[in-house]
Symmetry: D2
Subunit: 324 residues, 4 copies
């Protein structure tokens, strides 16, 4: 079989770099170009220096339409603009890692499927355009999907913590090492931009849901990963909850229900999501964890590509974890 | 004025070490002995190596009663046993850093005042025995006291994160550097042992309170500090809440209400607690932060000693923060 | 082609865990058993928790000889003992990750080739038994091999820093998170146990070498990786040195000479070694970096297996770096 | 006694912030103003947020001459310019934390004493102007002074590692959290700007010294502190070396010779320098450690102020270490 030809738009940032790392060694895909306006002409390994010795690719200054799929790794709001300003043949599939199309927006007649395989795998398989979910959105939703499907979701209180790569490459006070090392702080309290796509998903499964998802994001003092704990009232006993989750995820290769407490480093540098349930009296606590750049971004984008092109969902994504 | 003579029981652990650091340079107190059974005869600076050059003190193998105050820095459950097994003159005041006496227990006829100065300063001033609050308990309570006093407390959802020093010196998997670096994990979900003292305080201020304090503690990948975010319903507007808190803490030198978002490192290596309030629709979010070994343990113990002996509450506690 | 059948002896430690991670997804090898006396019967993913969802393998309590290669991941000194006490058919190849056979020792008639592919690739291809080099030894040697081959090596002054995984899983003061976070310290100054194998290699290439390798190891506050800087007198100009190194490593897929300054995270979670040369007046400084568990241990062991079985040297080792 | 009136020029940066922290609680000094052009009019605690609750001081937009001492916390090269452009009465003493006057330069007729108390305490006591040493320069010199005084210094090979605060507040790639976390890298190999002042000191003590100080600085993944290891040939036995160092530093309250191995966190958040000596065959290894912002900058500046004004050298500098 020929390899799938892929291009990256916006390849100099964190998600763009991670796309390159994944596509370089993907057994059934081929990276045709990595476009970066700001870095055009430079070797990719000059910017993503961990790729030294892995590739002689240079950043392109323009895209080619001789590809089957384009990954858009642009700032939020830039994807729609880019698609409008450039003529992309309708035969080229689009996977957008930004938030432009997650809530139903279209561009140039393209409609986007929300790319959470654990929610919409069959639809993604037939999709031409996919809006890749946000990192916090992925981690929270995977912790709540089985409940919503069962109509059991009530008001949720969630705290989540994210690594510095979640804030992007831009230099700012809160990403300065001196500030962030050994530090914790809240931001966007109860107003995080991922709440929209989370609620959209919940309502699609449990239309009557009309409660709050009270989400407090924290900045963590590590580079990679997201860990969230969600609390809600639930009358189901723990064993039934465990079965509900196990059943929901049994056919999904990257999301696993752990019977023991989870920790963030179990998933760092993998495309996995781990979930652990605890039931204390009438409260259910759901812990979930992902790598924000993989299952929370570029890894899920590759998973979506695999699905859209009929490949094994796991192709190119059986990554060695950092482990320690 | 003569300096207050102080002794430490259990001086080889983290809170014991921090007591030594504080008492060595306290302008109105004098460390008479630092007892450690396991380290007796060794130089204090061999165990607490950062004290190299600061003191030639050795760990004592026995206590002396020629002191005015004893700090008990023992494992939970050991303080009551120690007081029962040793004859301490009633003229010697006791400050217990463990959890043995926080809920009303007594030993040898000694009754203990719960040592949270922002709650009971006047009672502490007259106390002979003080039960020093827990670290998470201090941080959570300081975030909630003004609401409880105003009778405004409803069900609370709190997530808190703590440094590795909160877990003590014992070597265990979750304090191994390889495990903990860049890692996050929950523990004692909704069942943390500090909930007892928190509820006792709340009911003393708001007797009708009959709701849950849903508290999820996380292990953080840093050594010092506690940061918590608490969410609850509240109908008061933000400016009234700000006034309520400002008024409550105006006479308290270590607890400050910040009008801007707070971060953990603002308080590391200080005896301060910082609080920030956010009101979003009908929800109030209270962020609070302390250093778990200072305001959460040994610093608050010194603050209590200062109060019990009529000193300026701040004496010996105007510490240079780590800052960065 | 049939997959190579592999077994691991001592699979519960850090290098054993990393062997499992690598072999699970190696396209041409198959992990037949992972023996651990202490963990026998437990799921591998209970100990190496990042493998949750990746494997249902349990630790074996005994080995099988139905394998083509055995990886010994035992404490130093234990490999020789194990080989002596157990009957392993001579048809089973051995790769020892300990230091028992690096200096020429034998066991049960087995002679071991020193497994540094950049030094002995052709000999390794024919070897039945390989002594895998130490982590610091690998990193230092790769920085010096071209000089030694050219007879240019003089007295060397090296400082190296290693992650906590270099110290093994054992709980001890210097691997306690509270101690090690944000900390640096020297150990085994000028007496590190890897100096023996380093000198053996150097003398094999430059027999007249009779100088000191002054090596100061430091403990770093990170989990993975080794970074070393070596200084020596050298009269060759920088461009000739660069050519010398480029030529030496041109056929070696994992060791790369960088024309720009290197940093540790370029190699973390990869099997690569990066080298950078700086010439200042008559001094040459060689910086080199590896991941201590991969190129410094289990990755190099897989590389050696690949060579011994005629596979592509890179098979199973094109790992996605952590990047950030 | 009246308190010494002090002003800070350039108070928004790291050393300026640390000056404020030290002067706020100095028992014999009073901070009159903290000038920052960029932050003028803002509360000091808005920039140095750990000072929340400690001070209501605002950054000044101009200086006052109603002070007895000025601390210049400007970028390198800016101090001389500032002194030339502003009229400062000769009765105001100057302590410059930059590198403008360390090698003998003057401004407006002011001559500067090199402010290393362990080298020039008696001269500093009479000085009107002091050039505060660099952070690496302080740490290296304190490790070598006794040898130079004894005429024993030979070629030195040193590696040193520094926290991110050593690189200043400016946002740049190598101070981005994502880059620096868990990372190590060399910079300014053998060409660090502190070598000039180090050599000047050595030659003042051992005029015949004509060897290299081969110094390789590394960027560390922590915020505060410097740790260096220096190697040189030395024929003196270890006990004589220990005596030599003990004797040299016996009257100096902040520099201590440790008979056991040292680690960085022993000195973090203190004004101390710890030194440990190891003799292996004919090589002497000297390890030394300081906090780069305290003994390496603002703490030493206060120590110099204390000496210049006849105070106890330790006044305001008996700081609680971070410990853990």
């Amino acid at each position: 079989m020929n390899k799938i030809k892929a291009g990256i738009i916006g390849a100099a940032g964190y998600t763009g770099g991670e796309m390159i790392r994944l596509l370089l060694y993907h057994p059934q895909a081929e990276l045709i170009f990595a476009l970066s306006r700001s870095q055009a002409g430079k070797f990719v390994a000059e910017t993503h220096t961990d790729l030294a010795g892995d590739t002689d690719l240079k950043f392109a200054d323009d895209f080619s339409t001789n590809v089957e799929v384009l990954f858009l790794c642009l700032s939020h709001g830039e994807s729609k603009k880019w698609l409008t300003e450039h003529k992309i043949p309708s035969t080229v599939k689009i996977i957008d890692l930004g938030n432009d199309f997650r809530l139903g927006d279209t561009a140039e007649g393209r409609e986007f499927v929300y790319g959470l395989p654990e929610l919409k795998r069959d639809v993604i398989k037939k999709a031409n355009n996919v809006a890749n979910p946000g990192c916090f959105a992925t981690t929270l939703q995977l912790g709540l999907l089985p409940l919503a499907q069962a109509g059991l979701l009530k008001e949720v209180h969630t705290t989540g913590i994210t690594g510095s790569t979640g804030a992007g490459q831009k230099l700012q006070e809160t990403t300065h090492f001196t500030w962030r090392a050994n530090n914790i702080s809240a931001y966007k309290t109860l107003t995080h931009q991922h709440l929209g796509e989370i609620k959209q998903t919940i309502r699609s499964l449990q239309p009557s849901f009309n409660n709050s998802i009270n989400f407090i994001p924290w900045r963590g003092d590590f580079a990679r990963g997201i860990y969230v704990s969600s609390v809600l009232e639930c009358s189901l006993p723990e064993n039934e909850l465990h079965s509900l989750y196990k059943k929901y995820y049994q056919s999904h290769p990257f999301t696993h229900v752990s019977s023991t407490q989870i920790n963030l480093k179990q998933v760092v540098n993998t495309n996995k999501c781990l979930i652990h349930l605890e039931k204390i009296e009438n409260k259910l606590v759901v812990h979930s964890a992902t790598d924000n750049l993989l299952k929370g971004a570029s890894g899920q984008a590759v998973q979506n590509m695999n699905l859209m092109f009929g490949l094994d969902e796991r192709s190119g994504l059986q990554l060695k974890s950092i482990g320690y």
